[in-house]
């Protein structure tokens, strides 16, 4: 070796880091502690401190118990006997009933968005001119600020679950459609040629061969659409609807009741987190055959 000096030992090559549950737990704890410290020091320095940044204790007590009046019956316990504000039972029922409403909207909207996107995508993928014209429109629709169009859907469908579901489908179907069309276009020919030499055709070919084959490539878009669904339902409920966790959040916002807002936001976030992770692992399970 002429010009290069023989260097000393090099560090081991780090080619992949790993996400650890511990780091998430520690991070959450650190965030909670930081919040509490900030809340208490703010409360000590200003009169309104506890309102603006309530301590976690306040959140867990006043915040949680102040939600009772959002329960209007329907879960087997009548609104009056639940107890209204100040009753833990009422608060739990309030959160549960509204959470159910929100989740049902997400489920219906997301399910429909995926079905519509997949079906239309598969239908148009075969013929090139149709595929291009439809995806041309879909790509333009995808660039619309769907979230900001929340008022439009309440104008059209009223403050109803239908408005929310249609809104979610509008926001998500185009993403799935475009992803489906691209995935089918990227399929190597032999994936369909081989089954066709076995005599498989038509619906069986598309349902039993094409759809599973494109699923790995669709994974990212499906998970993304899940996040779109949750964001869209939140926007629709914060803007105009009269039920659901988003509505509770908006209603408590009107009076700047941060302690109650925190409780609702935490419940909403927990639901979104759990369902999104389930969606991700669900799709992974369906595509576990993929190398």
């Amino acid at each position: 070796m002429t010009a290069v000096a023989r260097t000393g030992p090099r560090a081991r090559l780090v080619l992949r880091t790993k996400g650890t549950t511990l780091s998430i737990v520690v991070g959450t704890l650190v965030a909670l502690v930081a919040w509490e410290i900030a809340a208490r020091s703010l409360a000590a320095s200003t009169a309104q401190g506890d309102r603006v940044l309530p301590s976690l204790v306040t959140v867990a007590t006043d915040g949680f118990l102040g939600l009772g009046h959002y329960y209007s019956g329907g879960l087997g316990v009548s609104a009056e006997s639940a107890g209204g504000d100040g009753s833990a039972l009422a608060s739990v029922l309030a959160l549960a009933s509204n959470a159910l409403v929100t989740m049902s909207r997400v489920a219906m909207g997301l399910g429909l968005a995926i079905v519509v996107g997949l079906v239309i995508g598969v239908l148009v993928a075969a013929v090139r001119p149709v595929r291009l014209s439809v995806s041309g429109v879909a790509e333009l629709m995808r660039m619309l600020p769907a979230l900001a169009m929340a008022p439009l859907f309440t104008l059209w469908f009223g403050a109803t679950t239908l408005a929310s579901v249609v809104f979610i489908v509008f926001s998500g179907a185009f993403v799935v459609l475009i992803a489906t069309v691209n995935a089918i276009a990227n399929l190597p020919p032999h994936v369909t040629d081989y089954p066709r030499t076995l005599g498989v055709s038509g619906v069986r070919l598309y349902g039993g061969v094409v759809l599973p084959a494109i699923l790995p490539e669709l994974r990212g878009s499906l998970v993304f659409t899940g996040l779109v669904a949750w964001t869209t339902v939140l926007a629709s409920e914060m803007y105009g609807l009269q039920s659901g966790l988003g509505w509770m959040l908006n209603d408590t916002l009107r009076f700047s009741l941060i302690d109650r807002m925190v409780v609702v936001a935490v419940v909403f976030s927990a639901l979104a987190l759990v369902t999104m992770k389930l969606l991700g692992s669900g799709v992974s399970r369906l595509t576990r055959w993929n190398a």
């Binding site: 290069v4 059209w156 939140l234």
Partner: protein, 285 residues
Amino acid sequence: MTVASPGTQAVPPVALSRAAGGRPRRRAMAGAIGWRLLGVAVFLVLWEIASLVADSRAVLPGPLNVVTDFGGSFFDDAGLRYLGVRSPGYAINIGFTVGLSILAWFVGSMAGAVVGLLSARSQVVRNISEPLLFVFGAVPALVLAPFFLVWFGQDPISKMVLVAFYCFVSVGLVAQSAALAFPPSSEEYAATQGLGARARFLHVIVPGTMPAVLSGLRIALATAIAVQATIELLGSQFGVGRLIALRATQGDVSSVLGLSIALGVVAIFLDFLLRRVIRALTRWQ
């Protein structure tokens, strides 16, 4: 006869055709654009027909109505001004919304790309960023908007912070996943050429993941504009979201459609520009 081994990267057929001669590909592209435009034209016609069938401007105004109404309020709007709305002209509000979005997108996405890439190779960075990316990769950042509104009022900076945060998480996750999926042999090769960890990061990971990261940036921009407008819906002094909220309370479907489509058009134009830039930066692909 070549037998491809699992790890060999094949030369994509598009590239071969480009090397062979540009004309067949260009002709195919022109055809593709033509069909897309045809699709859009058909859609507009169907929309016009549907509006005629609905026969109610309040429910479904046709595309022509939307354009006319939009044009009328482009620079100023007497009606809104009478209601005491400051700067009611659509143009300036679009400029406001888009301008803030772009700034927030740029800052947030760059930070996200850096942290995302680093987190794939440095366990320390990963441990710190993991809670944020894990939670807000699944929880819509919009849930923070009401809190920002209470704490910081209708201040445009706080809106930008939220949009930047959304872009940070979005691009951060894309960058992290691209760096984690990057073929190890490329980095090992660089190590055997004598590159240390820092040199490998700057000269192998960054350029190698650039196509995926830039693609993530592109997608984040369109959504950043939408998120900015949505936050403005909740409460703002300026911007398209504020106008949409006002028009919605007036029941003015045409204006809501017009404003939304206008933002969409701007987003499409910016996306087109970005794609050009990206193609110039990734000629090697």
